[in-house]
Symmetry: C7
Subunit: 83 residues, 7 copies
């Protein structure tokens, strides 16, 4: 499952088109489909939902997230499978 | 609808001339028409309104927003459509 | 009115010699006439007033503002016209 | 045991494929298997668990951690052996 | 009075040898004679006084101020004239 | 004792293989043997102990510390000798 | 007394071998003899004392201080002479 991850950005490349959980500074969490990223870890997600206590707080549709506010990014399939 | 987004800045390019919701550090939100942006994610918006609890708190007209205070940018049409 | 803004710095160039509202981190607001700026968004303003609740708290005359403390800059004419 | 560590990144290189404890800003701790890192100290971990008071708070599976939120990284074998 | 200010650093150049008010992050204010500055806005001031509520809290003599803690710098003559 | 310190990194070079006290942002202190450092002041320490009120709070064994969370580094022999 | 200060680093150069007061972010103050500095304003001090309310809180001996935590540096002779 983790084949082909030699550099950190490989994880993001593998996650394109899939749902990811993004944890932001200030305890903010969003879930969405990863469409694009760059070396600054700026992301574009689609079908974005801000989450709070595992419930959707706000639907954003498309969103551009600035990389420097991100703490971690986890493919939702692996994050949710084990929760 | 998300065609043509290969890099994060493509989203901003597609949103030019349209309304965007910008979420800033310190829980500040503004809505306005995106006129210009650069690689630092500095933005110029027109018809800017500072929002609080979905109500307009202040009208700013034109404004230059520094990129490093931005958490996310969402085209208002997709953000509002689903809210 | 927004003609000629292709890049964010165009807004600042158009605002030279005019009054701008500058919103700083830490909820500080100043109003003054924009004399100069650079690519770091360092500004020089004249006739600077620190504002609080729409009242002048302190007159500073000339001031150099470091760019990295700035959240947004709005030409005062458009900001005030709609307020 | 510490042979071959001449530069800080050597420690991360030695820890590949092993469990590490990562302490993040904001008192957040995660444990996981180190798969990849880069010079920004961005990490990819597998089998990630957020820890609180030595108990697992959340299972994340795979995760990309941005380097600038990291305070320290300790190979879990040495950290746990002595605790 | 504001002749010759085409770039922000021109203000600092004009203020050399004169008293300036420096407002620092964390609500700290110092007044002193500007001796030198560089492009990082590092400053050397002489006859430095830390100010609190318009009163001198501490005399520092000479001091080197790191640029990244500075919010604004105002020539004291213009700041004090209008206060 | 302080011979040979012409540049700040010389202190770290002299301290290799010796115990150092590292004071981190957020009032965190660790003590350990300095194995390696780089120009970002990233450190690798061995026999790391998190300290609180002069008592060991946690043993970490080996650890990689990111430079940007460090306030100061003091060779423990000089720090402890005088305490 | 202030001859020869044309650039901010000249002050640090003049202060080598002399006692300086260093004010750090988070209201921390240290006094020590300046041995070395670099362009990042990283410092090495000897005979370092952490100060609180003009009293010595802790003796550190030699210490490396990271530049980005520093607010100001004042040669102690001028700071203390006037206090």
């Amino acid at each position: 499952m983790v084949n082909g991850i030699e550099r950190p950005l490989d994880l993001l490349n593998n996650a394109k088109g899939k749902e990811v959980l993004v944890y932001l500074k200030g305890d903010k969490q969003v879930v969405g489909t990863l469409l694009a990223f760059d070396i600054h870890i700026n992301l574009v997600l689609d079908n974005v939902r801000e989450m709070q206590n595992n419930e959707t707080k706000r639907n954003l549709g498309l969103a551009f997230l600035r990389g420097d506010t991100i703490i971690y990014i986890s493919p939702a399939s692996t994050a949710l499978k084990k929760e």
